[in-house]
Subunit: 371 residues, 2 copies
DNA sequence: CTGAAAGCGCTAACAC
DNA sequence: GTGTTAGCGCTTTCAG
């Protein structure tokens, strides 16, 4: 049934080890031999047995993707985006991805690791005090974290530079003349749980606001239409001179424009809006929102590249059709003084869409638009 | 470093095979022996080596999840939903999930299968003429398809009963007195590609419309705000007496209410809306839409259960905390006359939200609401 | 540059 | 009810 390396060897008139070395490239093989072997492999449609390989070679060519399962700050579209990017990049390096959901504590992670099922791990949605970090540290398996824990414990981290994102939003609005801004944030609980990215964003916003002489009012938001509407009504009554919003909350962002219209404020004529979050949420609304995307794809790709670098010296990807050969972590990285060893923080990029414009001196509540 | 079965055996004063049999339960072990062995396993923190196991036992306890990668009709939130459900259910059966993206053709699927890396496959987002189906059929690996291909070739299929979903929408509207309905469908291309689910929905809608004396106008829709707005403006001008919409298009659904408001029609006072698609899209709008959800979770769970049934006689799940013991494919199944062997079509469930109400005899275009 | 052979850690007959 | 043993298919010394 299953073709073995011995059959290939016989068919090519060589020994099994030669076939193995042709495949691994771990020792020089003469051109003619190599060709005969490859021909036999093709003809017999040989596929090496992964288990045998793992047993003998102590490497599986599989990376584990540790997913959040319970209360994740990560929203669904992003999750899918991450997985795609990670899977595609991993395959570029000849690796497959094993899904590790930690429903039952961290059993699946520990089992897979100790059972020699994976060569390394990528852990998604890492929070500030994430118990999983200590687990993998103890397991001693090469791991890259997506997110920034308080104690990386020597593990590599990859994330969006949320502080810079916050600053960038304020800059954009300040450049347009806005001086009074509301920051619609994550649900209260997220700040209490110290998720990290939420605080970093807030800090960035506040810092740059001070810098630019912008007044910022921070309001956590539960998301959904009614919560968002209520929040906005209150805060706009409180601060009538607000001319712009920064929103770091996907499920609020999609409603903002509608809510504002209902309050009789046009976007961007009366109020400008900048979002931080999944592109899908920003693009799909009316008007589409100027936003800073969480670059799930780039983050996933970088995470895998970083992991591969750890897996065995600078091995290069198997030239995946369409994937660049990863000439180092240059793209969009704001590595800062940490250099290699510090977290890899991707520089945020602001996409200007239709929701931001110059500030009005007075914010005139008008009748809703009819077109 | 890694504890082996032999070390456990020595520590417990038994042979390796006994340890193996304690773990697999494939032969009776006396109570005292079993206990000693389990104690040793715990004390030494033994984790069987997956590769060795796969090699000797010819089973990996891993299922492959074949994901769409390119032009998928499936939208992101659903994808994530599927994966979670599948992964969680699989772990309930003691299996892990290997992600198989078919970017480079079907190489990853073939490699993983022939390489003995997976015991079975779940294939997502299967279309009517899906080339992957023939591939897995030829590979001869146990596979469950999510979606209905034209030629299942003996493979098991699981899907939502989209025809029934279409009928259910029409019934709901007809019951409310609506007689003139627009069906906002998938993008034109989807119908041309014969994706299957799109046609089945359309058929269901048209059939039941005939049955109930409802007039239906079908319009494919590209999605997004402007396309949706344009489409609606045209069709409402054409058919002024329309009082309800059925929308089978996530990226149009989220805009419908807003667009209608902009046309001066209130939902549901002037126009009722029923959606078929991801719950998230329906729930998040204002007003939230009455809808039939694609039950990603249930579909994923059923797919895995069906696969497990194929993997080796009726093996039972390892009593996962909180997962029901799968007493057969009863829940919500409209198995029909096919019984076991035919596709498992889940019965659609309509969730009434705020977007549907009784039909008005005349559809009076009014001024937009100010609240 | 190539072969022979010793395991990797486990499962599943086959013995008793 | 338990122990012995022969591989599973591959990688990698060690020889040549």
């Amino acid at each position: 049934m299953a073709t073995t390396i011995m059959e290939v060897a016989r068919h090519a008139g060589v020994s099994a080890s030669t076939v193995s070395y042709v495949l691994s490239g771990k020792r020089p093989i003469s051109q003619p031999t190599r060709e005969r072997v490859l021909a036999s492999i093709a003809e017999l449609d040989y596929h090496p047995h992964a288990g045998a390989r793992a047993l003998a070679g102590n490497r599986t060519q599989v990376i584990g993707l540790v997913m959040p399962v319970g209360s994740s700050g990560l929203h669904r579209p992003l999750l899918a985006e991450f997985m795609m990017a990670i899977s595609v990049t991993a395959r570029g390096y000849g690796h497959n991805v094993l899904l590790l959901t930690d429903q039952e504590g961290q059993r699946s992670v520990v089992d897979a690791t100790r059972g020699g099922q994976v060569d390394g791990l990528v852990m998604m949605d890492v929070t500030l005090h994430d118990p999983r970090v200590e687990t993998v540290r103890r397991l001693g398996i090469p791991t890259v974290l997506i997110g920034l824990p308080a104690e990386p414990g020597g593990l590599e981290c990859v994330d969006l530079d949320f502080a810079a994102a916050g600053r960038l939003c304020v800059d954009h609005l300040a450049d347009l003349g806005h001086r009074e801004v509301v920051f619609v944030g994550q649900p209260e609980e997220v700040y209490r749980r110290q998720t990290g990215f939420a605080e970093r964003t807030l800090t960035g916003v506040l810092d740059q606001a001070r810098e630019r002489g912008v007044r910022v009012t921070h309001r956590p938001c539960e998301g959904g239409w009614s919560a968002t509407a209520g929040l906005l009504a209150r805060v706009l009554a409180e601060r009538p001179s607000v001319t712009a919003l920064v929103v770091h909350n996907e499920s609020a962002a999609s409603h903002l424009a509608g809510v504002l219209r209902n309050c009789g404020r046009a976007v961007p004529e009366d109020v400008s809006v900048v979002a931080i979050g999944a592109d899908a949420a920003a693009e799909s609304g009316e008007p589409p929102l100027t936003s800073i995307a969480v670059p799930a794809q780039r983050l996933g790709t970088h995470a895998v590249q970083a992991l591969m670098a750890h897996l065995e010296g600078p091995r290069r990807p198997a030239a995946p059709p369409g994937a660049r050969p990863a000439p180092g972590p240059s793209p969009g990285a704001g590595a800062g003084p940490d250099g290699p060893g510090g977290p890899l923080l991707l520089r945020p990029e602001l996409t200007v869409r239709a929701s931001t414009g110059p500030a009005r001196s007075a914010p005139p509540p008008r009748a809703p638009r009819h077109g």
